[in-house]
Symmetry: C2
Subunit: 416 residues, 2 copies
């Protein structure tokens, strides 16, 4: 029997089985882009080429490979680059099918499964509203504006609505095609030019009065905001250009991670005792054999609203984005404990200055419940006890070779 | 000033920067294992070799690369293989450091950050208790038992405690070293032999009376339970050997995904209206430009306990693990709608027979709140309306080339 009536509802892309060619030669460029050669052909691939090959290193259904790749993607831009790379690898015969059927993969402008990312960002009403408010405060009629990483183009549209003479919307990925339809739907297409490429690789026909850019990651510096802003100041902006955001602060909040949360990530004596009683098996050696906690976990900061805070936040980094020059950062700060507890974690959050009267913060004590960023919560090894008045010292580093990026100690500094 | 007093608490492994060599040649073996050559040297790597290279395709701190790799790992075994591969690639010069410092990476028996995985499985008291109960029902004094994928060895210990004459505990990864310490701590090391390797690649000195194996994935067949059991019956077990589990059922529950959950994954009219009102920007073209919903999302089934169920579950697959032979599966089932609603999703769960009186189910209506498995919830395109009495037809396939693995339609079957 086969289904022969009614509407067949396919819930999955076809299950074409793909696998990696058995002989590949790869040249890795300085920027992570790849040249990939089979004995017969060659192609170019973005930095995700190896991830795509990995997903199909054994014969794998396209749908399964995509599901695996989804799991490691940080955001929409990565996903679009990755799916386009997959298509190109298939075209060039680096990925082969076994059934003789062509897989249903088109270089879609939006990639796959990106709706959820937009939904989360747009539902973060405080994030988007504050960026729009900053743009209205900073952009003046007649300005030339550059929006780096425009994505769906919302900030570029807001800049045009605020009176910009012209907006250059820079977007590396195919989502720019969608932004273009939004420019048209909102009646500002004549004043916005979409530029496809990385901001560090494109040229503007004129220097801009204002830089707008939302490229703050869960690790605030992780989307290369420092590198992008320095390059923009050098090549794309007028002297003394205005910026949204104009300043970035990164703070570390010394906390006591609640026992319930901690118990999900590390072995606790109570759990070992439970398991012995439930299962009749001594599992204590497991706790000793397994290395300690992971370095950090990700948490929406609003979920830490009621955690015990052990000290005022340490201001780890304060950058005026209009003037900073150092891209290697090393800062040491000391704060004073205000409560007693076990210093087992440090939650990292950020604050942005978006306009003269507009700021945005992911401080767990202030953040909106709809906030879409995650905070990194670092485990502090050995979880030292602190009491009010104890000094807590933090060292924060970015791009300093050698030592770890974050260190904490209970104690004061010796004079230099 | 440098910190010079007190205990410095390093919260991260050193930030050695690694990057992929610029010229690599790769041979991909039939099982996904790799031979990787630089102009100077060569090495062998597991199926995760390409994922590791990908993480370091640009110069990347070891800690950052590991964090990225963590995000794509399905479980402990993968993580151990992956970190060992990283070590080997570094040793062979396929990954190069730029600072002259050696990264702190040892082939750790447990890999990195695995505690959370064990914690979740061991805290799933129903899962572990039922497997132990099944073992006590099935294993008889004097039996020879093989435990495939022993992991930390808990099931092997239970088999020994149940009176097995000898247990062969098969484990592919270095976690077997930890299992060995647990065998000793529980006084059963003289009756358990650890065998390192894949079950399909190892030999037993004698055939076993009982097979024990917990290799049921979030996608129930995803850890290759069919392939492993067929191979074990052929090579490792006596005729008519007993099994824990002895049967596997996979069911699809037709549901109406609640609006609140749906709105996180797809564009809904209400959200588009909100955004227009909040931001003064028409975002409707975004919804049209972006392809539909993702194929599925993962959800702990206990979170679907109160979802509207539109029909009895469809029994998509029912396998007697002691006798099945087909590894290509195609099943068609029809169920009758029992409620009105929008058929926008199908939740997949499984049931195991673990002993004559012991079962385990991830049915959302029965599952324990501590359950550690995720269910796949498939979106049904176009979300057809159903009313009581409507037939709903499901087709489920495994390893059938061509058509999708799951299809649903509202309607009955024509006679064959």
């Amino acid at each position: 029997m086969n289904p022969t009536q009614g509407q067949v509802i396919a819930m999955l892309d076809p299950t074409t089985v793909l696998r990696c060619a058995s002989e590949i030669r790869i040249q890795v460029g300085a920027d992570g882009h790849l040249s990939i050669y089979t004995p017969e052909e060659s192609c170019q691939a973005g930095p995700h080429g190896l991830a795509v090959l990995h997903a199909f290193v054994r014969p794998t259904r396209l749908s399964d490979g995509l599901a695996e790749l989804q799991a490691r993607i940080r955001g929409m831009h990565e996903w679009i680059e990755l799916t386009n790379t997959l298509t190109e690898l298939y075209r060039a015969g680096v990925l082969l099918d076994e059934t003789g059927k062509r897989p249903v993969v088109q270089p879609a402008p939006m990639g796959f499964d990106t709706a959820g990312i937009h939904v989360a960002m747009l539902n973060d009403r405080v994030r988007t509203t504050r960026f729009l408010a900053g743009i209205r405060e900073v952009v003046r009629p007649g300005d030339v504006v550059v929006d780096i990483g425009t994505g769906t183009g919302v900030l570029a549209i807001a800049a045009a609505q605020a009176g910009a003479r012209h907006v250059y919307a820079v977007e590396e990925t195919g989502i720019g095609q969608v932004a273009q339809t939004l420019f048209e739907a909102n009646g500002v297409a004549d004043r916005i030019t979409l530029l496809t490429g990385r901001s560090t690789a494109i040229e503007l026909p004129e220097r801009a009065d204002v830089l707008v850019s939302e490229i703050i990651g869960n690790e605030p510096l992780g989307e290369q905001v420092l590198e992008v802003f320095v390059d923009a100041r050098t090549r794309l902006l007028k002297p003394d250009a205005r910026m949204v955001p104009s300043a970035l602060r990164i703070c570390g909040l010394p906390v006591e991670i609640p026992e319930e949360k901690l118990a999900r990530h590390v072995f606790r004596a109570e759990a070992l005792e439970n398991w012995r009683s439930w299962y009749g098996i001594d599992l204590d050696p497991l706790a000793m054999a397994i290395p300690g906690a992971p370095s950090y976990f990700l948490l929406r900061p609003q979920k830490a609203r009621h955690w015990r805070v052990l000290a005022e936040p340490a201001l780890l980094l304060e950058l005026d984005l209009r003037t900073f020059t150092d891209q290697e950062i090393e800062v040491t700060r000391t704060v004073t404990a205000t409560a007693s507890g076990s210093l087992n974690g440090v939650l990292i959050y950020f604050e942005l200055a978006l306009g003269p009267t507009t700021t945005l913060s992911t401080n767990p004590l202030q953040v909106d419940p709809t906030n879409c960023w995650y905070s990194l919560v670092w485990f502090v090894a050995d979880a030292p006890s602190v009491a009010p008045g104890d000094p807590i010292t933090a060292v924060y580093r970015y791009r300093v070779p050698g030592p770890p990026p974050v260190e904490w100690r209970v104690g004061s500094l010796a004079p230099a």
